[in-house]
Symmetry: D2
Subunit: 146 residues, 4 copies
């Protein structure tokens, strides 16, 4: 679980508010993008896992600390790690950084429970579970091993 | 189809952008609220129509003209009418007004096709079709007959 | 700081995601609505405080625990309290409840620092500070004293 | 004005709704992304134009026709053109295509008026006006000349 994925994003106009910075709820949307791209990097297509394995990552808790405001059109990196995976529970953490690696602009985490279509807890089946456990990037060139 | 429904709304902080006014995409979200409340007023619960009759109002086209910018915390009214309903096609129009009836702040319309779960066109069954056709408000006191 | 404000809201279609429940970031938008309506109830117009006093409530940290999923068109209540106010720091907490008071559907909190237009910490001036400190509802009938 | 810019995007989970497809208002957010990247490609940084020249592209009207639903995690292209620029008026149009160029998934347009900070019409100054008029991509390799 030492693997980290870095996803580059750019602030959209829609994501700003009248304070001239990014509205605070939008960070959670970026966390989702980071989470999904983390999974893709280790070979787990989240969309496929929902459709083929009928497994959904319901969010149990989310947290974000806002260090520096982000402004329109700024490019930044979201660095995502899987910090916990046992049974039906997973946790990710996220660091938002400037492109030069300085920051953090924000840090956060999310806790999840895997559920089936009926909303009941459900174990992630093979091969998804194994890929998440090993955390080996499927495409080494796109990601950064720490 | 002469019935109009008026829904009162207030601009959320999340809906503003760094220009200090409401971001333009959010008007379409308000149109949806107007549409749903219009349906409720004539006795059609949109949620129930989706679940019980498996009918979904897919949007075919949407249009909005922005007359005056809306600012944070402003209360306004969205006036919704069903302007067309024939076969599987419906159209609504919307007028955003100040609370005193002045305006419009914006006007728009949406065109819809009714589809089933498979995405294919589907006729709205009884009693929904009849209620939409008659356009009689189910709760006279909450709405305004024009 | 024992005063609580209850704001009734209804889930919008735009707020759902393909899992069929409310997307998790939208709870933070509702927290903002709860916060603003809390302030209004004790006589502080947030919009006016921004414009007249040039005081902005920057979010320092936000947290949400999701207990039960919320579905489209559901009406619920967000119960907001000011739990901390000292110097330039404030904190609110939030409970999302069913209309009958059962729940919670979700609980959360936000921590804020008051900043001026330059982004530097700034004390909230009179009369806003006094109103927030006393936490006396300005309009008793709309709110609930606990 | 024959230049077209292509921007690749991927559907976020946050952008879906309970119908299992992208919520219709989000297309307007993508149009904004297309518009901003079009401007960047011809050498106009929209953010800089707002800050340095105090010129804002207020939206006067927006339109979108939805041809095929877009689903979660789908990658697509938004092809943006400046179709009109005279005095204080501009118009863009947008085509959403599959990565292989098939489609369109949706087509739309937006009309804008350039305003200053006071909300009054304002001519775009040099060099932005010239760049927009010529529509020559600043970075030939990233864009496609039609």
């Amino acid at each position: 679980m030492k693997f980290e994925h870095e996803q580059r994003l750019r602030v959209r106009y829609a994501e700003t508010d009248q304070m001239g910075v990014v509205y605070y709820a939008n960070y959670l949307t970026w966390f989702e993008v980071g989470r999904v791209e983390y999974c893709r990097a280790i070979g787990v297509l989240y969309d496929e896992m929902e459709k083929a394995a009928k497994c959904f990552l319901a969010v149990v808790e989310a947290n974000c600390r806002y260090h520096e405001p982000l402004t329109y059109d700024t490019e930044f990196v979201i660095r995502t790690r899987l910090t916990h995976f046992k049974g039906v529970f997973l946790a990710f953490d996220y660091r938002l950084l400037n492109l030069d690696g300085s920051g953090p602009l924000a840090v956060g985490w999310t806790k999840h429970i895997v559920v089936g279509q009926n909303g009941k807890p459900k174990k992630i089946p093979h091969p998804y579970a194994g890929l998440l456990k090993s955390g080996t990037p499927a495409f080494g060139s796109e990601v950064e091993q720490v």
